[in-house]
Every structure is written in structure tokens, then in C-alpha cells.
């Protein structure tokens, strides 16, 4: 029994990167409006050295929901989107840091480790409404603030980038 589990685990470990690379190699070109551009140390690209992602490319990622309060809104909000680490794996990203750029020219460096330590999501919906560019959309990096006491800190609050449109992986 134990041996079989080990074999399964080993198979998964060995095949994981291979599958990701196989997927990464076949990143199709975007057809709709590009919502997010990812550049830097990524394996999957579809325009030069960059990955240009529209909603059709983003939405196949496994959905993830998160309920938390934020530092700029009242009460508790319900967020839907996908995990940052799923996106990074989809693109075969490797590196230490993500430089996140917003439409409003806001720039911040985020350690990639954050996305593995916590279930950080890239939210597309808040309280059932799609996030728009006139609010904090189309993409908002949301930390599970209420689930971890250490995240209730201004040093994490500034990593909540809204109107995200570009990620540079270094």
C-alpha cells in the first residue's frame, strides 16, 4: 500500500514539470482583448518573449473563491478568481519576484513565495460582480487577509495591486 503511494507520488513529481512544459509550449495566441501581459522568466509565451492573456486564456484556470475584508472597503467581501500560483505554473514561471504594474502606473515588487505561502488570488469578481476598469478591475491581487493574522499588516496591504495589467517575473 505504502509502496504504491510512493510510486504514484514519484510519478506525479516526475511528470508534473513535463506536463506543464508540454502545456506551456502550446500557449495559443489571444483572440479577445488582452487583460494581462506576463514577461520575464516564463516558459510559455505567445507574443515574442511575453504571454498575452485574454479572458479565454485565463478562465480555464481552476476557479478559487475567497472571503475577506480589505483595507479600503467596509465589511467582508467575496472574491472569485484563480490562484496566482496556478497562473505561474500554467506559464512555467521561475524566479524570485514578480513586478506587478497597474493601469494607474502603480508598481510593486511581490516575492513569488507569497503565492505559495498563502492562497493569493487574482480576483475577477467581487461580491458576484465582474471587476471593471472603472473600479478595481479587471484583475485585483487579493490576499486571504482574514485567514492569517500576519497578513493584517500595511506591509502586505500595499501588495494588493488592483487594475493589474502586467507582471514581470524575475
Amino acid at each position: 500500500m505504502l509502496i504504491r503511494h510512493c510510486l504514484v507520488l514519484a510519478t506525479l513529481l516526475l511528470s508534473g514539470p513535463v506536463l506543464a512544459q508540454a502545456d506551456a509550449a502550446t500557449l495559443p495566441a489571444p483572440e479577445g482583448a488582452v487583460k494581462l501581459v506576463v514577461s520575464g522568466q516564463i516558459a510559455a509565451t505567445n507574443r515574442g518573449a511575453e504571454a498575452h492573456l485574454d479572458l479565454d486564456l485565463l478562465e480555464p484556470l481552476p476557479g478559487h473563491e475567497l472571503t475577506t475584508s480589505t483595507s479600503v472597503t467596509d465589511g467582508v467581501n467575496h472574491f472569485e478568481g484563480f490562484l496566482m500560483r496556478d497562473l505561474l505554473e500554467r506559464l512555467g514561471a521561475s524566479g524570485e519576484t514578480a513586478i506587478a504594474l497597474a493601469l494607474n502606473d502603480y508598481v510593486v515588487e511581490i516575492p513569488l513565495q507569497d503565492f505559495y505561502d498563502y492562497d493569493v488570488i487574482l480576483a475577477t469578481h467581487m461580491d458576484g460582480q465582474r471587476l471593471t476598469r472603472r473600479d478595481k478591475g479587471p484583475l485585483w491581487i487579493v490576499y486571504p487577509r482574514d485567514d492569517h493574522a500576519e497578513l493584517q499588516d500595511i506591509r502586505y496591504d500595499y501588495r494588493w495591486v488592483w487594475q493589474l495589467h502586467r507582471l514581470e517575473i524575475e
Partner: protein, 477 residues
């Protein structure tokens, strides 16, 4: 001894502990309040939010102008959306509440109205007319004015609040410093109290120890005095008891044993008085001889009785030293042969030499009694064998005769006072000799035993503690 005053000391230390705890608690509460206040400081973000909204409004203005001038790269749609998102953020719960608290609700509402007008203008039109400067500028100018006013007010409010907060921090700091001084002073007081208490305790302990030692000394003094008195009393009582026992025993023996020889002497004398003339000189001489024998017996009786009474009264003491049983036995045999002119005694000495730890006079008395008994109770033609030997840690002397022996049931009673065996009938004697002999053996840590076979003879065995070969014999021996 210094007097201890527990109540005031406890009161003072309790107060010191109370003050220490109170100061510490106050300082901690203040510090936690400051920390929480610093952490909850949300309004610092407000100036950034408003400024970013101002920047967004200017960039929209720029983009609209450029579009009007035919720049292709300008993107007024994006700039409008960003401005909208900035104002939406200012309209969100925490930000609106802060602005309202600073009396900036009306400029905010007016700014939002301007935004709605801008959005309506852009969303309701199509094509080139969407971003016509002439339509947008009045709303945008108004919006920029209001944002400028809000930014101004927020900046001043922040400086005010920062100043006020610094005042609070300073006063908290002073209070904490005061508390720390209080903590130090009450800690110092506690320390002094502790040192004082330890000193008191040490003094009390020393006093207690001294008192205890004194008591113990007194008790020991009293006890030793009482003990000495008690010992003296006990030994006096013992002595008295011994003396009285001696007299009682001697009186009992005199009344029991002296009547017979006295009666014999009395009747003999009466007969001599009455019939003096009828007796020949030979007969008279025989009567006198018998009377002398009776007196001799009485003398022996008195001696034996005195010895027995002394033993009863514990008046006999053994002074043991190292003696050779061989030399004692040889000496006794020589005396016996010289006195009685008989040569019935044979001696045989084992090797190693029987050295005993004994009192020579007492041992001689025992052995003399055994030898004279053996000679007396066995036929005149039979020898008496005396042997000495060392057996284990005992020196042993055996006196064996060739007499009739002693019946088994009498052997057990042979050492009782005044007991005389069936074989003793017809021989003079009073039944004290063996009793005394065994007593004398026992007070020297030895013993006297008998084994006899009727018809073959008796063997009396004297056992004494053996003395070591290396020791020099005592000079008195």
C-alpha cells in the same frame, strides 16, 4: 534578641509589591495603546489616495487635449476609467468616513457629481464627439478644483493629526518613563525589604540556634547530674542489697546447717561429762578426736557458708588474668600429696598448653573442691585422673574418678545447694561445695559440668575462657 515586628514589615512590602504591579501594568497598557494607535493609523494613506486622484484628473485632461490635437497615442478612455476608479475608491466606506470627519463630504459629493457628468458625456456620445474638450473641460476643471481643495484639507488634517499624535505619544512616553521610575523605586524598596527581611531572619536564626544550644547544654548538665545521682543511688542500693542478701543467706544456712554439728558436739560433751569416769583414756581420746572433727566440720561449714553467702550477695569479684591450668593443677596435686600423703593423683596435659583467662585463687578453689570430692567419693585404690587441654577458645580441666558414678536423675540436681547424692550417704559434707564451684566458674565466664556413668565413675569438667599464647603471664601468678 531583637524583637520581630511582622505586621508593619508585611504591610510595607505589600504596598511595594502593589505599587510595582500597578506601575508595570500602567506602563504596559500605555505602550500597548501607543502600538495599537500607530497600527490603526489609516489616515496616513488618505493623502496618497487624493493625490493619485488629482494625478488621474490631470492625465485625463492631458489625454483629452492631446486627442484634440490629433495625438494617436493618447488614451482618454483609459484615463477616464482610472479617474473613475480613484474617485470610487474615495467614495468607499473608510475613505468617505474619513473625509466626512474632516468636513469634506460636500466637496467629495461635488467631485463625484462632476465624475458622473464626465462619464455621462463620454458614454452618451459616440465617435469623435466623446472627448470634445469644450464639453468635458468645465466638469474636469471643477473636479480638479475640488480635488485640490480636498488634498489641501487632507494634508493639513494629516499634519494636525500627526502633531496631535506626537503630543499623545510624548505624553504617553512621559507617563511610561514615570512608571519606569516608579517600577525602579518600588523594586528598590522591595529589594531593601528583602535584604532587611533576610537580615532579620538571619538574626532570628542565630538567636534561635544560640537559645537551642543553651537549652541543650542545660539539659545535658541537669541530665548528667541526675544520671550521676541515679547511678550512685543504684550502686549504693546494689551494695546494700548484696550486703543484706549476704546476711540473710548466711543466717539461713547457719539456722539450717549448724544445728547438726552443734548437736553432735553438745551430746558428745554431755556424754563425756556424765560418764567421764567410765571411759578409758583411749576411749576419751577417741571422743575428743570425734569432737575435734565435728568442730573442724563446723569450721569448714562456716567457711563454705560465708563463701556461698558472699556469692549470693555478689560480694565475690573475679580479677581474671592469664594463667596456665597446668601449673595450677600441678601445684594443687603437690599440696594434696603433702597434706594427705596419698599418691592417687595422675595428671596428663594436652598440647598446646591450656592457658586460661581466670582468677587464680577462685580457680584453685574450684579445682581443690573437685579433687577432694574425687578422692572422697571413689575407692581408695582407684586413681584420680586430672587432664588439661585447650579446646577451641576454651581452656578445659577434667577431673575423673573411678567411683560409683552418679545416677542420671541426680546429675541434673548435683549443683543445687544442699543437694547430696545417694552415693554421698555416710560421707561428711553439706552439699555446698559443687554449688559454690559452679558459681565460681560462672563468675569467671566459664562453667562446670558433670558426666557420669553409674559403675564406671564421674568426670567433672571445668571450662574457662582461653587466653592467647603470646600474652605474658601476669606477674601475680
Amino acid at each position: 534578641m531583637p524583637r520581630l515586628r511582622p505586621f508593619p514589615a508585611y504591610l510595607v512590602s505589600s504596598l511595594a509589591i502593589l505599587a510595582f504591579s500597578a506601575f508595570l501594568a500602567f506602563a504596559l497598557v500605555r505602550l500597548f495603546q501607543v502600538e495599537k494607535d500607530m497600527r490603526d493609523n489609516v489616515d496616513e494613506n488618505m493623502l496618497w489616495v487624493v493625490t493619485q486622484a488629482q494625478v488621474a484628473s490631470h492625465r485625463l485632461d492631458q489625454a483629452v487635449s492631446r486627442r484634440a490635437m490629433g495625438h494617436r497615442g493618447s488614451d482618454p478612455e483609459l484615463r477616464l476609467d482610472i479617474l473613475a476608479s480613484r474617485l470610487t475608491l474615495m467614495d468607499d466606506g473608510p475613505q468617505r468616513r474619513y473625509l466626512a470627519s474632516q468636513g469634506l463630504e460636500s466637496p467629495l459629493d461635488a467631485a463625484l457629481d462632476d465624475l458622473q457628468a464626465l462619464l455621462a458625456t463620454v458614454d452618451d456620445n459616440e465617435g469623435e464627439s466623446r472627448f470634445r474638450p469644450a464639453t468635458l473641460m468645465p466638469h474636469l476643471d471643477g473636479l480638479m478644483d475640488r480635488l485640490n481643495r480636498i488634498a489641501n484639507a487632507v494634508m493639513m488634517a494629516e499634519w494636525e493629526s500627526t502633531g496631535a499624535r506626537l503630543d499623545t505619544y510624548r505624553s504617553s512616553l512621559l507617563q511610561v518613563i514615570g512608571s519606569v521610575i516608579g517600577i525602579t523605586l518600588s523594586g528598590l524598596a522591595l529589594m531593601l525589604l528583602l535584604i532587611h527581611a533576610l537580615g532579620q531572619r538571619r538574626i532570628a536564626q542565630q538567636a534561635l540556634t544560640a537559645h537551642r544550644d543553651q537549652l541543650e547544654g542545660e539539659i545535658a548538665r541537669h541530665t548528667s547530674r541526675y544520671k550521676e545521682t541515679a547511678d550512685a543511688l543504684a550502686s549504693a542500693l546494689n551494695r546494700e542489697r548484696g550486703v543484706s542478701e549476704f546476711y540473710r543467706s548466711f543466717a539461713a544456712m547457719v539456722s539450717h546447717q549448724f544445728r547438726t554439728p552443734l548437736a553432735v558436739i553438745d551430746s558428745g560433751l554431755q556424754r563425756l561429762l556424765r560418764r567421764d569416769r567410765h571411759f578409758t583414756a583411749e576411749q576419751r581420746s577417741e571422743r575428743y578426736q570425734r569432737l575435734r572433727e565435728a568442730v573442724e566440720q563446723m569450721t569448714r561449714l562456716v567457711e563454705s557458708s560465708l563463701t556461698a553467702a558472699r556469692l549470693d550477695g555478689q560480694q565475690v569479684e573475679a580479677n581474671p588474668t592469664r594463667h596456665s591450668l597446668v601449673s595450677i593443677v600441678d601445684h594443687l596435686c603437690r599440696l594434696q600429696e603433702e597434706a594427705k600423703g596419698v599418691a592417687r593423683l595422675t595428671t596428663s596435659h594436652g598440647s598446646p598448653e591450656a592457658l586460661a583467662w581466670c582468677d587464680r585463687a577462685l580457680t584453685e578453689q574450684v579445682l581443690a573442691n573437685l579433687i577432694s570430692n574425687a578422692l572422697k567419693y571413689s575407692p581408695a585404690d582407684k586413681p584420680v585422673c586430672i587432664t588439661t587441654a585447650r579446646e577451641g577458645d576454651e581452656a578445659v580441666c577434667r577431673v575423673a574418678d573411678g567411683g560409683p558414678g552418679i545416677p542420671g536423675d541426680e546429675q541434673a540436681r548435683l549443683f543445687e545447694r544442699f543437694f547430696r547424692g545417694s552415693n554421698a550417704a555416710g560421707k561428711d559434707g553439706i552439699g555446698l561445695g559443687l554449688n559454690i564451684a559452679r558459681h565460681l566458674a560462672r563468675i569467671q565466664q566459664g562453667d562446670l559440668e558433670v558426666s557420669a556413668t553409674p559403675g564406671e565413675g564421674s568426670v567433672f569438667t571445668l571450662r574457662l575462657p582461653a587466653a592467647d599464647q603470646e600474652e605474658r603471664p601476669d606477674a601475680s601468678s
